[in-house]
Assembly symmetry: C2
């Protein structure tokens, strides 16, 4: 039920199609994040209008609330949310490891406390698979340890080796291999030898796709892309490559340029709630005085609902007075912007002029460091 076809490469950039049980995904692809079973401030109708091909859910959050058994009773995430296209769930690893003071990691798994209720929970590879099997996403992720940055070589190596043992346990426990693709996650922090070792280990599994994890956890953007640069070529050419948790405009351009096929990030909806929005000429904040009397669209040429129906001054007013609809309108625009940017990148790859495309668009986005924090 899964098949990846690589249609064209242009430099390291790749254009492909990944077929899943709920439909084909044209890659490269940006995947909006529906953390708690909704993309924040949007209805799924609005998500559909952004032409999203796949959305994410977080196993950790869904396990705690409403519980994976509840989602399963509703027919899995597709029945629960009403979203009929592909879904990917992460394993919960990243969120659990972010609970620095509330969790304890052992070889067996992770004990942690729900930060809201204080209740104790235990997740290990087998439990993560049971949760993700119940949630029923098309693509599910291995339960890994995500080491912080900076990590010593020794810590990173030990952590990676445990992640590898957990990866075997995940594949052994995964009960829906026929309709859920389990992606291994390559770890190894910023160490090239470890990333090499981790990619080699992951490649042993007959997986439908591979992910690069443990990036954007505090290291500089330069480090993120050094890691991607030496890790991406270590992954199978005939399988999609997913760079986890990354998704500003510049991230997408850089990632595609280095051979990444799949991206996710809460960035477009999170920054929207604070008034930031994307233009082809760069990132802006709508609260700036320059937009007070701007009766044009957020971005010339954008085909999103917001740009088709509203001018900047109106959206700015809603954001300034903290009306929820303002966050919705900017989120629609930002998500559609990223999806269109990636669609355009794909067209450029297929046309063989990605380098020109990259050189035109990349300099317009300078990433403010506050926007690259790890997200959960």
């Amino acid at each position: 039920m899964f098949e990846y076809t690589l249609h064209a490469t242009d430099g390291k950039a790749r254009a492909g199609t990944f077929i899943t049980p709920h439909g084909a995904i044209e890659t490269p692809v940006f995947m909006p994040v529906g953390t708690h079973s909704t993309v924040k401030t949007l209805t799924f109708d609005q998500v559909r209008q952004t032409q999203a091909q796949i959305v994410l859910g977080n196993a950790y959050h869904l396990y705690l609330r409403p519980g994976h058994e509840m989602v399963e009773r509703a027919g899995g995430l597709h029945g629960w949310t009403g979203w009929e296209k592909p879904i990917l769930t992460d394993s919960g690893g990243f969120q659990v490891f972010s609970l620095t003071r509330l969790r304890k990691i052992t070889e067996e798994g992770v004990n942690f406390r729900d930060p809201i209720t204080g209740q104790s929970h235990f997740i290990n590879p087998e439990k993560s698979m049971a949760i993700q099997n119940a949630l029923g996403a098309d693509i599910i992720m291995a339960f890994d340890e995500c080491p912080p940055y900076p990590a010593t070589h020794e810590y990173a190596k030990n952590s990676m080796e445990m992640t590898h043992r957990w990866l075997e346990r995940c594949f052994n426990a995964h009960a829906r291999k026929h309709d859920q693709a389990l992606f291994p996650i390559v770890q190894g922090s910023t160490y090239e030898d470890l990333r090499f070792e981790s990619a080699a280990f992951a490649r042993q599994f007959d997986a439908h796709g591979f992910a690069i994890g443990g990036v954007s956890v505090g290291e500089s953007k330069e480090w993120v892309y050094k890691v991607v640069e030496f890790t991406a070529p270590l992954l199978p050419e005939n399988k999609p490559r997913y760079l986890m948790g990354i998704g500003t405009p510049e991230d997408l351009l850089d990632g595609i340029n280095l051979g990444i096929d799949m991206f996710d990030c809460v960035n477009p909806t999170r920054v929207a709630r604070h008034g930031s929005f994307f233009k082809m000429m760069g990132r802006r904040n709508i609260k700036n005085a320059e937009f007070e009397n701007d009766f044009g669209p957020l971005d010339e040429g954008c085909d999103c609902y917001t740009c088709n129906h509203h001018h900047v001054a109106y959206v700015r007013h809603l954001i300034k007075i903290k009306e929820a609809t303002g966050a919705t309108l900017l989120s629609i625009h930002n998500v559609r912007f990223l999806i269109r940017l990636v669609e355009d990148a794909r067209k450029a790859i297929l046309a063989g002029n990605f380098e020109t495309f990259y050189n035109l668009h990349r300099p317009r986005f300078i990433n403010p460091s506050k926007e690259v924090k790890p997200v959960g």
Copy 2:
């Protein structure tokens, strides 16, 4: 540009059509409130999907933020919001008088402080007309004094008489009589003699419609409908009658039953944000345990987006974890519910069986007193 046609009456209930510059409105009609130039938590596309025929804006709020000059520069409220159907603005009177400790009323007008910035402002009938002319709604309201409840007969009479003098000033100042219908507001508190006097005064004006104001300001529901019962028949039969600020399901049924044609209320979106939703069998709160495993729609037979796409358990989850999308989904349902209730009432009037309709639906809604507070 304005014309009201009364198609049928059934008891006191009326079915008509009111033509305005931005389209025809079939009455009775429920008008969702877009206080700050948006219906809370909804986009206008979502408002359109509820089949709303007209929305409200608040002159007071729009005057303060973003300012009526800004709205005028955008082409009035239609250009500002992108909503292409009829709009009604209230005069600001109700909101100003609600600022009990921040305002001072004289014959000339009202001095008040912006509760957010502390800045001083002055609104009088002429200023209210200038603001509403700039906002450019199809229907605009007279600037009146809305006395509190309880009010002595003397206070109510003096207040009413000033409202009458202000009404003359409004008609004299109104600069867009050709494309904006100015509705007088009948006051007089709970006193039948004063309501009679006020209706007689208002009828002197060649207005396209008439409103009943000063209800639901603290008095019991019984008093609201006593006032409506003796005031509605005093208004011209060949003009629409608007009962201001009223709009729970039972209010709509009772108001229609007493010959009211137009209603507005923030109730459906406000209660949605707290988890309340309407069913044909009555009002419910989605947080109740009974809905935890309810995989049916919010209301059987409802044709709203939410009922078509989502089950109760999912919406309940979003409301419980305070996801903004939950409030959006419930607001869509509640607004559509009221609009459909009024559509069905209109069909019953045209079919001559409104009494049966009323007797079937009215007992299902018992109004919790917390839901009848005055709103602004």
